[in-house]
Amino acid sequence: MPKISIKQATELALEVGRILLQSGSATNRVEKMMQKVCVGFGYPETESFVTPTGIFISVKDKDENISTSIRRIESRRIDLGKITRISRLVNCIGEDKCSEAHIVKDLDKFRAELKRIDAEQIWPGWIRNLCGGATSGFFCLLFGGAWMEFIVAVLIGIIVSSGLKYLGRLGFNNFLLNAIAAALIVFLAKLMDLYIPYIRLDNIIIGGIMLLVPGLSITNAIRDTMSGDLVSGTARAVEALFITVGIVAGSGSMLKIWALWGY
């Protein structure tokens, strides 16, 4: 393993942690991965504390020099592909048989690879929107929808998926984002109902809502709490609760508005 300075090691570990946390990884995993990076580059005495909104790391070398750094994490979006690739990369540290072993031995290559993973878009935007539509449509079928409802649900799913991306760029918080998306789903479904006869709205709206439900937050909350990270476990649970309340508030108020309008 090459020797790198304590500042560089801290910086590298923080970068790994940032990408993992922003993609929606469990905090326990982030801590383990940062630890692994530091140990791999020759700093076994590393302490880190990760919450869903920030990373604290402190690296110590043999001469009792300590380097501590804090990174605030603002935007978070689900990206399981990045988590997988970063985990693969970090797990290769210290193993010779790995396909990525030559990358993790060189600091510059490691940095370049991290940057590449962070910037990479695996699927183009339109495919992801289309898949959002497919998810919504097939959930509609799963809960007992007919083919006409399937088509409407696919349309709504595509519109909401692309809408979420633009809303995310405007920098809304999670609650407002989900409330607006849920309201949009109900609005579009009601609008389609005016022009297309004999469709049941329930299945369509539920199919759309399945795009928004906080599955990842629930999983992470449980995993964090079980691994003893009570702070982040609670934070994730509250996040899941808030997203849920946002969905309910958005779709409920839109339904009520339509009812008041008189249709």
Binding site: S25, A26, R29, I78, D79, L80, G81, K82, I83, T84, S87, R88, N91, I122, W123, I127, R128, C131, G132, G133, A134, T135, F138, F139, L141, L142, F143, S161, D202, I205, I206, I209, M210, V213, P214, G215, L216, I218, T219, N220, A221, I222, R223, T225, M226, T244, I247, V248, S251, G252, L255, K256, A259
Partner: protein, 150 residues
Amino acid sequence: MRPFDILTLMQFCWAFLAILGFSIRVNLKGIKILFTAISGGLCWATYLIVLFYSRSVLFSVFVSIILVCIYSEVVAPKLRTPVSVFVTCAIIPLVPGRGLFQSMQLYIAGENILASKSILQTLMIAGTISIAIALVSSVTNLIHKMLNRF
């Protein structure tokens, strides 16, 4: 609905395709997509089959989540993927989006008692999912520790 007829197969297919779309939406690629999709379909099909025999929603949710969690723990290391990636995709069909919407509808309609009942049911399902995931991940941790010791 009989447990092993063509309808269950169709439901398996819908869940499979829905999770296929979901996993592409969260940027997974390669052969992993196929395996996460199978886990989603498996989750929903097991839920339906157990529901037919046991007539208890919570028990069915518990059994099916435990099954897919074990599936994830077995398959994920082979594909060099974190287990949580698999579990996240697999539980999506059972996350109670429908219960949520129905409670909200009932609440708006002014049926407070029915709405409370529905909300309670939704919360119970979410809690059961959590317990099942926690159970499997703790037991797996324990097994790994045992294997490392001996």
